[in-house]
Structures are given as structure tokens and as C-alpha cells.
């Protein structure tokens, strides 16, 4: 079902009693999470695809959840602005899907994650009631910050219908570089400790570097954005920070090329992990991953310690592989099986807050109607 308004969506929920509800946008991530059992109804936000209010002077846009990232980007770029997320499936991904999976991408270290850019949210509850939190201004502390609760909740608390997003001025110049050589960790930390302000600073595994058309050797991808003068000033300082490195300039679109490489079609068997590790261990992690999974494409955002691991075809013993990775990234990190077999503890919730999360779920969706089985809950 493809409701065209939040009211229609609410009506569908009220009319469908206690039936299970599977939520989707453009379905680009249908292969993510545990696979549905077919029971219940499917609601798509694809027809909720209007840009409702674009306050250019305020750098704020309010959009419906089904608006595609590419379409939004086009509209914003025409005004010299952008939403600072770089999601997987850039051609299909919708605002609602990006929010539900908190798919922030490489710009996180500079602009914050999806969570940091959502100023307001509207959603429909399992009982069909329309509700909201936050607002349309960049600074607002009135009421609970339920934008953050819904962001990354995998559609298990409510169906997001619209969001107000914080935007940034589109920098006129982008330059991208590949850094290779022996001292990756030293360069990684050196650049972060310098006065440079990279928008992306990611560790890439050798097979992913090869996808970009460069020698299959682990490397660092650096992106600098700003005015021509500001970028040139940073580039001039690179030799100081990257002493002894092989530096090659890449296509300015490298960031998006990387997300496209990692966005394998759902029909292709693949293991997709979201991994977190202390930033100081990102180079060591990718080095280790190259030993235990030599063909994996890995992109770790080294300023924050979060990234993607993609392996195709599906390895024989996923559980053993994931266990090894977790042993490496613990105690601070995590490794979630976003796409792959339903191994025990696939999501890897850390700490002791699962019981509290369950109480939140039980309050927001007492009948567990939304996306049952897909994520953490039955």
C-alpha cells in the first residue's frame, strides 16, 4: 500500500487491526535485516514524496519521508546547499530509510551523523495516530528529542512521514586524494591532529582501492571541501603531514563512487557489516580484516570509527568470521550483521540497555506491529 498522506497512512493502520506492518521506502534495503515471513501488510512511503517547505535563507528543509536522496540533493544543490549525509543506495535511498537506518556516511566526522541533522520529525504510530517532535528551527530543546529515538530505529517504533533537516552551504570546491604507503596510522593520526579539516578521512581496504582503479593496496581516502582558497591552503600543507606517503589526486566524486561500489543489489549474496571501533584502531582493524577476509571491501570513517564491510560471495562460516571481528573491536566497538544470515546476536547491542530498549519498544508499539522480526524484536 502506498498512502499519499499521513492521514491515509493512519487510516490504513487503524483499519488493519493488529496485523503486522512491514515498512519500506523505495525498497533499496529490502535485503537488510532478518527477512520477513510474508504475514501482514506492507506500507510504502514512496508516494509521500513531496518537499513541503524549503526555507533557503534558514538552511532548513522539510520533506516527506519518501523523497529520494538524489531528488533532494538536486533541489538543494540548485540553491547551493546540501544535506550532509552520504548514504548507500544513493539512487533509491529515501529520507525515511536513511533516517530509519541512521546511514550517515563519510561526512559524519565533520557534519555529525543523521541524528545530528534532524530538527523535527512527524510519524504515524502503530495505532494510526499522527504525532511529532522537535520543530523547524536549528536550535530547540522543547520536549523530548524523539528525532534521535526514531533515527536508527529500523521502523520499529513508528512510520516516519516527514522530517525537517538541517542543511549546509555547498562548498564550491571538492578535492579528493588517495594516500598509500607504510605509515598509514601515523598519517591518519597526524592529519587529525593537524589544523586541517577534512570532510572525509577514511581507511579503505586494498580490494576497495582496486575498485577505484588504483594499486590494490590499503589506503586512506582524504576529502577536502571549501572555497578554492581554503582548500588550496589545506592542500599546501599536506606534504608536511603526509611525509613519505604516495599521494594521488582522485575524482572529486570519489565519496559517492565508494558508496555506489558498496551498494550491491539485494539479489547478490553478500555479507554487509556495520562496524564500530575506536578511531585509533581503524587502520589496525582494516589491516586485520584484510588478513581474515582478503576480498572484503572495507570503508572505515577514521575520524569517528564507524564504517562498512562488504563481502561477496557470502563466506561459508559467517559466525566464525563475525566472532573474530568482534574480538578485535571489543570492548568499545561493535559489528552488526546488517545483511547476511541470522546468526545469534546478529545486531550486537552492547552494554546492558537491551531491557530498557525493549520497554521503549513495548511502549511505542505494544503489539509489535511494526517490522516484526526484522531487527531486534519479534
Amino acid at each position: 500500500m502506498r498512502p499519499e498522506t499521513a492521514a491515509e497512512l493512519g487510516e490504513i493502520l487503524r483499519q488493519s487491526g493488529a496485523q503486522a506492518v512491514h515498512l519500506e521506502g523505495q525498497n533499496s534495503k529490502a535485503h537488510w535485516g532478518n527477512q520477513r515471513d510474508g504475514v501482514g501488510i506492507t506500507i510504502s512511503t514512496a508516494a509521500l514524496n513531496r518537499i513541503l517547505n524549503y526555507e533557503v535563507a534558514d538552511l532548513v528543509v522539510t520533506v516527506e519521508a519518501g523523497v529520494k536522496w538524489v531528488d533532494l540533493r538536486r533541489v538543494l544543490a540548485a540553491q547551493g546547499q546540501f544535506w550532509a549525509v552520504q548514504p548507500l543506495y544513493p539512487d533509491q535511498a529515501t529520507v525515511g530509510g536513511i533516517m530509519a537506518t541512521a546511514d550517515s556516511g563519510a561526512w559524519r566526522q565533520r557534519y555529525g551523523g543523521v541524528r545530528d541533522g534532524v530538527l523535527g520529525i512527524h510519524w504515524v504510530r502503530p495505532d494510526g495516530a499522527e504525532t511529532k517532535a522537535g520543530g523547524q528551527v536549528v536550535k530547540n530543546v522543547a520536549g523530548y528529542d524523539l528525532m534521535k529515538l526514531l533515527t536508527g530505529s529500523w521502523g520499529t517504533l513508528g512510520c516516519i512521514t516527514q522530517a525537517t533537516l538541517r542543511l549546509y552551504p555547498l562548498p564550491p570546491v571538492t578535492r579528493s586524494f588517495l594516500i598509500q604507503g607504510e605509515d598509514l596510522e601515523q598519517w591518519r593520526q597526524g592529519l587529525l591532529d593537524s589544523a586541517l579539516q577534512p570532510t572525509a578521512w577514511d581507511v579503505l581496504s586494498a580490494p576497495l582501492v582496486a575498485q577505484l582503479g588504483y594499486p590494490a593496496q590499503m589506503g586512506l581516502w582524504l576529502e577536502l571541501r571549501g572555497t578554492a582558497l581554503a582548500v588550496a591552503e589545506q592542500v599546501a600543507r599536506l606534504p608536511q603531514v603526509l611525509m613519505g606517503a604516495t599521494v594521488q589526486e582522485l575524482d572529486p566524486e570519489t565519496g559517492e563512487q565508494l558508496t555506489r561500489h558498496l551498494s550491491l543489489p539485494g539479489t547478490q549474496p553478500q555479507l554487509l557489516l556495520k562496524i564500530g571501533v575506536l578511531p585509533t584502531r581503524t587502520v589496525a582493524l582494516v589491516t586485520y580484516l584484510q588478513q581474515i577476509a582478503p576480498h572484503a571491501w572495507v570503508q572505515m570513517h577514521s575520524g569517528v570509527g564507524v564504517g562498512w564491510f562488504v563481502l561477496t560471495p557470502m563466506p561459508a562460516d559467517v559466525e566464525a568470521l563475525v566472532t573474530k571481528i568482534r574480538q578485535f573491536v571489543y570492548p568499545e566497538g561493535f559489528a552488526s550483521v546488517v545483511c547476511g544470515p541470522a546468526i545469534p546476536n546478529r545486531w550486537d547491542v552492547r552494554g546492558n540497555s537491551l531491557a530498557l530498549m525493549r520497554r521503549v519498544k513495548d511502549q511505542f508499539d505494544p503489539q509489535h506491529r511494526f517490522n516484526p522480526g526484522r531487527w531486534l524484536w519479534d
Partner: protein
């Protein structure tokens, strides 16, 4: 009826007796927070030092079914730490340890009683700082910042508290110790860190906070432009944002504030005859800052700036900021009392709302000074009054409420950084529908099903908000703007 003697004895057994405050005269200092016009003596005050002690304190509250009100340094401006008559005040001010500093990973772990500026002091030698900087940063605590999701003058570019908190340890109102988030962002599961920040102590008590620190910029410059009118300064702000420049901070002070500050702090750098001054701070690499500063200067001139000063060295910068940071205190010197509001409007609506505030000021006869985070559209109108005049407080509260309603009308919010607290909960219904408020209660029930944590804050209740409506009716002259 609660047997407070027995309850106090039980607290004294789990904390040192001297950290259980019962004597009337000692309770006095806890009667209010930074919103001094609201006062209530608490039944009992306890000062735990560890997570375990906070947990024990909450267990005792649960045992006797006594509500508790968390309090940090007590500098909040919305009455979030206002005690209740039949409640325990749990004060985190003695939880003052910096537990871990990990500069390579840019993390600092602190107890909630640690003062905001101590975080920067702990890492500044290594070239880092903690970004959120409320004006009270030398006295306010991180726990309070987390509760209120505090902002500051440098939030425009780097964000508010929530954007810098990676993880929390807390004791929920059910008495369980939970670890939320951690050293790495985007940990699997719900982002409960994100909802606890800004929850104003209504979900439990935070006992450890993992903060993100930032690299100190190489170059920082502050520009101070003076304008004949506040509207011109506001237009300059819009033009700077529209030019694609994101300054570290962008602040406006109006004529009344300028003169108050010049009287008290005597910086000698704000022209007394200016309608408004605009402070713009730009940070980054040298050429980048020079380029942006050049553009900002040009914009200010185009918008009619009469004079422009640019401070490049730390002392000059400090001097320019000093007046802004002292603005609230200075107001206390020119008026017996002042009432500060904290509304937000879309940045483009600043000129409109300032005109409306001026109109309200003239209609009511109360002087209103405006000091605000212009880049964020976050207003801090200060209404000057004399609390000893009977009825004056009610009138200025009503006037503050009218300003908030205008903010809502402009598409804004009733609080940008001070929180809703005890003060503004009756305006929540103007911003949110009954369904929205009911949805927020779903979250609360998951943390605090028995409604013991700071129970009378944030959300409107028919009783109190009904009373306020009656107060307003007593002053019908205020309805005729």
C-alpha cells in the same frame, strides 16, 4: 504521609550523614536554581558521590514512593531543578571527577558535577577543547548541560550538547544502572543517549558522561560591527548565512544591553549610541579565516554598519566577548530584577520578532533588553522589572509568554537551550498536540513508570496550568496589545 525523619536516617546510612541535608537553614540554598523567582524548600537534600550512591538514593525514593528532583550546579534558567515540597533533591555537585581523558580518540569521560570549563582545561594543553559553552560555563556542570541540552555562543558551527555526547551511564528512575552509547557513535540499538540528553532529569540521573572534544582552531577572529538599528544587524546575520558562511558564533546585543554592559564591565568597545552590535567569530586556517572575514566585513558594510572592529589576538577577542558573556549579570545592575526568556525563531524571522518584542515592550511599559544567539535564531529577551512591586512578576511572566507565543507563530520554539523546566511547561500545549505530549509520555514510562523523576517539569498539568490561566485573567489590561 512520609516520615521524613526515617527517610533521612535511611539516606544517612547509605551516604555519609554530612551529605544528607535536613536543617532548614542549610536547605535554603537549594530552594531555587537560576530561575530565582520560583522557590520551594525541598524536604531533604542528598549529595551522592558515585553511581552506586545515586542508585541507592533512588532505591530509597522508590521504597517510600517519594519523587526526586535532580540538580547539578543549580544554574539552570527554567527551574528544572526547582524542588518540590514532598520530594528529595538529589544533587550531583560532589560528583566532580574527570574519569578518563583519551586525546587520540578525542574522548573525555566525566562525572556530572564536573564544571563545563574543566573539560576544556583538561585537554587544552594538547590543543583540544569542549565546544558547548553556555554563558555560565565557569559555574555550570556537565550533568546540568546534559539535562538541558545546553547551547552557548559557539553552537552555530559546532552544535549543542547533544552533538558532543557519545555515551552516558545513568540510573533510571526504576533504579537500574544502564550504559547508553559509549566511546563509538552509532552503536546498535535505539539512540537512548540522544533522548536522555535534554530530558531535564525526568528519566533518571546521569552519573557518567562521555564527551567528544574538538581540535582548537589555528586562527580565531572576532568581528564587532555596530549598527544604527537592530533590524540592520539582523539583516546582516541573514546575509552572512545566505553567503554560505558558517561562523563559530554570531551574537547580537541591543542598545539597552550595550549600555548595561558598558556601565558594569566597562569594556569601552561597544559604542553606547549603537542600536545594536553584532559579534561574529570565524575560525579555521589563516587564509580561510581571512577570506571569510573579508566577506563578513563587506556584508556588514552593505547592511549599513557604522563601524567595524576585528580582534585577532586572544586578549582583544576576550574583550569583545567579555561584554556579551557578562550581559545577564550586567542587567542585574541596571534593574532590580530581570526575567530572561529563551525563544527561537527561524533566522529569517529575526527582524519581525524584534519589532514585535519592541511593540510589546512599549505596550506593557516594561523595558526589554535583547541579547541573542542571532545565528541560531535563539532570542534571550530580558524583561526588566522590580519583583517587590506586587503583581509585577506575574505581569512579566505573562509578557514572556506573549513573546513565546510570537515565536511559535513565527514557526519557532519556546526554548532553544534553557529547557522547559517548571517555567514554560504551560506553553508546551501551544507547541505540541495532546497526541504529541502523550507520545512523549510513552518514552517516560519506559524509564519512569511510577512518575518519580522530576515529576512536575516539562509537561503541562491541568492543575498548574489552570492556575496560571487564572493569574493571567487577573491582569486583563495585558490582553489588549
Amino acid at each position: 504521609m512520609v516520615d521524613w525523619g526515617q527517610v533521612a536516617e535511611e539516606f544517612a546510612r547509605c551516604l555519609e550523614p554530612r551529605r544528607v541535608v535536613r536543617r532548614r537553614e542549610e536547605l535554603l540554598v537549594y530552594e531555587c536554581d537560576g530561575l530565582t523567582s520560583y522557590r520551594q524548600r525541598p524536604a531533604l537534600v542528598v549529595l551522592p558521590k558515585t553511581t552506586q550512591e545515586v542508585q541507592r538514593a533512588i532505591h530509597i525514593c522508590r521504597k517510600y514512593h517519594i519523587p526526586f528532583v535532580p540538580r547539578g550546579a543549580g544554574t539552570g534558567l527554567s527551574g528544572g531543578a526547582l524542588p518540590e515540597e514532598e520530594a528529595v533533591l538529589i544533587v550531583t555537585a560532589m560528583m566532580r571527577q574527570i574519569l578518563a581523558v583519551d586525546v587520540p580518540n578525542r574522548r573525555v569521560v566525566v562525572q556530572p558535577g564536573v564544571i563545563n570549563t574543566w573539560v576544556t582545561q583538561a585537554v587544552s594543553g594538547k590543543g583540544f577543547y569542549y565546544a558547548p559553552d553556555p554563558s555560565s560555563q565557569t559555574v555550570c556542570s556537565v550533568g546540568g548541560n546534559v539535562a538541558e541540552n545546553s547551547g552557548g555562543v559557539h553552537c552555530l558551527k559546532y552544535g549543542v550538547t547533544t552533538n558532543h555526547v557519545l555515551g552516558l551511564k545513568m540510573v533510571t528512575a526504576l533504579g537500574e544502572v544502564v550504559e547508553l552509547g559509549g566511546m563509538v557513535p552509532e552503536l546498535p540499538g535505539y539512540d537512548l543517549t540522544g533522548v536522555v540528553v535534554g530530558s531535564e532529569g525526568t528519566l533518571g540521573i546521569v552519573t557518567e558522561v562521555t564527551l567528544n572534544i574538538l581540535k582548537t582552531p589555528e586562527v580565531v577572529q572576532v568581528l564587532c560591527a555596530d549598527f544604527a538599528t537592530v533590524a540592520q544587524a539582523g539583516a546582516a546575520v541573514s546575509a552572512i548565512i545566505a553567503a554560505g558562511i558558517i561562523p563559530g558564533g554570531m551574537e547580537i546585543m541591543d542598545n539597552l544591553s550595550i549600555n548595561a554592559v558598558e556601565n558594569v564591565v566597562a569594556t569601552g568597545c561597544y559604542p553606547r549610541d549603537a542600536g545594536a552590535i553584532l559579534l561574529v567569530e570565524i575560525d579555521g586556517l589563516p587564509a580561510e579565516v581571512a577570506e571569510a572575514m573579508g566577506q563578513v566585513q563587506a556584508i556588514c558594510k552593505t547592511q549599513g554598519a557604522r563601524g567595524i572592529q576585528v580582534a585577532t589576538d586572544p586578549q582583544e577577542r576576550y574583550k569583545l566577548w567579555q561584554g556579551r558573556k557578562a550581559a545577564f549579570a550586567a542587567m542585574g545592575k541596571i534593574s532590580r530584577d530581570y526575567y530572561v526568556q529563551d525563544g527561537v525563531v527561524p533566522r529569517s524571522q529575526l527582524p519581525w520578532i524584534l519589532q514585535e518584542i519592541e511593540r510589546l515592550s512599549q505596550a506593557s511599559g516594561y523595558r526589554i533588553a535583547n541579547v541573542f544567539h542571532a545565528g541560531d535564531g535563539n532570542l534571550h529577551p530580558l524583561i526588566l522589572f522590580d519583583e517587590s512591586v506586587p503583581g509585577a512578576l506575574e505581569e512579566v511572566e505573562h509578557l514572556g509568554g506573549e513573546i513565546l507565543k510570537l515565536c511559535i507563530q513565527a514557526g519557532g520554539s519556546i526554548s532553544g537551550e534553557h529547557g522547559v523546566g517548571a517555567e514554560k511547561r504551560c506553553y508546551m500545549s501551544d507547541l505540541f498536540s495532546p497526541t504529541d505530549l502523550e507520545t512523549m509520555q510513552l518514552l517516560r514510562r519506559a524509564f519512569d513508570p511510577d512518575h518519580l523523576a522530576n515529576p512536575s517539569k516539562i509537561f503541562p498539568t491541568p492543575r498548574t496550568c489552570g492556575e496560571r490561566a487564572q493569574v493571567a485573567q487577573k491582569f486583563p489590561q495585558l490582553q489588549v496589545y
